[in-house]
Symmetry: C2
């Protein structure tokens, strides 16, 4: 059976679910809902294993809560690596659980290396000898040039997977390199042009490529520029909510159908029960409902803003 093209699948999900929401699964032991860590400790004992157990229990509950409202889940591998081998097991279990529900999983791994090493990362995260960490798409860092991106694109093309290259990140110091004047224009624009070029041969029926780009929400002007420079790249837009980007900031990412981009929120959804307005409405004991409400609200807010009328 031919694999479905990643971008076609992503765009169909956006329209089918009327959602452009990606929820980041970035668990921290110090912010888990009350009781989860204690329960895991009783079952599993030692800290790294108990934390990993609690992470998976938390993620499973979050996935169940948000599934109908999101296009994809995006576990950030750093939070799992922090807890070693057991943490990585929780990462693997999380991916497996989400994919089993039919959800798209974007491994936020920002991997980068050259030649055969990049190929090893691509096998690890997009499909190879072992399925543990295999997601539907990954983020990659383009600083090493096309050698560092092509091995991911090759595996993605073969396996019906996707790749999102960092173009303009959502952090304040992204200006240090990404806004440097590179031959008369900011570096990120050069990177955007390269990403567009590298992905051109890999477009699906939707018109979008399997090679997308990461462009941060807090910089609406750069987002519009990136969209224009990469008309066929699906955009993954982080930095919404907790990092300061609002709905009006991300409008430039979408096409006329409200497609072409997905917006990611982590803390704003998965820890929604900690803060207003959800804290007052639900309380700690009803944290799953707070998480669901936050995802649902974000979905409605984005969809209505990008599909006016």
């Amino acid at each position: 059976m031919a694999q479905e093209h990643f971008a076609d699948r992503l765009m169909a999900e956006i329209q089918g679910k009327r959602s452009q929401v990606v929820v980041g699964l970035d668990p921290r032991p110090e912010r888990l809902p009350p009781g989860l860590l204690d329960e895991a400790r009783e079952r599993s004992g030692a800290p790294p294993r108990a934390v990993a157990e609690a992470f998976f229990a938390f993620n499973r509950a979050v996935i169940d809560a948000v599934a109908e409202h999101v296009v994809a889940l995006k576990p950030q591998v750093a939070f799992y690596e922090r807890f070693g081998v057991e943490g990585m097991r929780a990462y693997a279990r999380t991916i497996e659980y989400a994919r089993r529900q039919g959800l798209i999983v974007i491994g936020d791994v920002k991997r980068n290396d050259i030649g055969s090493t990049a190929a090893a990362y691509a096998a690890a995260h997009l499909g190879g000898d072992c399925q543990d960490f295999v997601a539907d798409a990954v983020t990659v860092n383009p600083y090493l040039g096309v050698d560092g991106v092509r091995p991911f694109v090759d595996v993605a093309a073969e396996q019906g997977k996707g790749v999102f290259a960092l173009v303009r990140t959502s952090n304040p110091s992204s200006v240090d390199l990404q806004e440097l004047d590179a031959g008369g224009e900011p570096l990120f624009r050069r990177v955007a042009a390269l990403v567009s070029e590298w992905g051109e041969a890999h477009r699906g029926e939707s018109g979008y490529s399997l090679l997308g780009a990461v462009v941060g929400a807090p910089f609406p002007e750069q987002l519009r520029a990136a969209r224009a420079l990469m008309p066929h790249a699906p955009l993954l837009v982080p930095g919404f909510g907790a990092q300061g980007g609002g709905v009006e900031d991300v409008l430039g990412a979408f096409d006329e159908q409200g497609g072409g981009a997905v917006v990611s929120s982590s803390r704003g959804v998965i820890f929604a029960w900690e803060r207003a307005p959800y804290a007052g409405r639900y309380g700690q004991d009803r944290w799953r409902e707070a998480v669901r409400a936050a995802a649902s609200d974000m979905r409605a807010e984005l969809w209505s803003a990008t599909r006016p009328g």
Copy 2:
């Protein structure tokens, strides 16, 4: 007890061992010495576990063979991630074994992210809640600017660890971004200046900073430029041997004492028994001796070239 400064430890090792050699531990199942994988299969059964077992057995033998000739070991995490949770266990065991022999371990992870995510990576790889993946130093990618590097530097400063930021990588397409004209000079020079600036406050008694840089061997001119722009950054020079860099190419990396830089080889040493001149001299059954000879030869060649007379 006060932690020894990473750069001071590295420089003392160079002089103490009269070596500037780093051996990359980049195992691949298809290139392991005959018998290792079969033995592991008999002991451990299923593929990912057997491969991981074989990787650790191989690495342990390589570490034993090269220990007296090298300043550090550099496992490339991609090759372990490829085999999932079990692969990561082999990575953890490899680091633990090498450090137990008193050897410096540089985790070649090229991690990069922002703020609290970068802090989670730093905890994972330089010291935090769980020791599994904790090495003495790591490589990081600077595309996200100082936000993406500072969390690593902070943990390194606290824990006596080191960080090597990618400046000019050893691959052909490193030119795609790193040689772009950035305000009148190639981008990598701007990055080198930033790395120098970021590391300035973290110099040890040797004069070198805990923040070093990765600059590839195949580009001697860029290596000299990088050395001049980052006078206090320890340099990690990959791309020696298999990737085409020779002794004459790397001379510009060192200070007058032959210090300030280390040169890394992976395939050229760990698979030395496959190729001339070592294949003819040792044969498959004596692969450990071939590995030892390759490390010893590389050490002698570099040391005599950089410490003339």
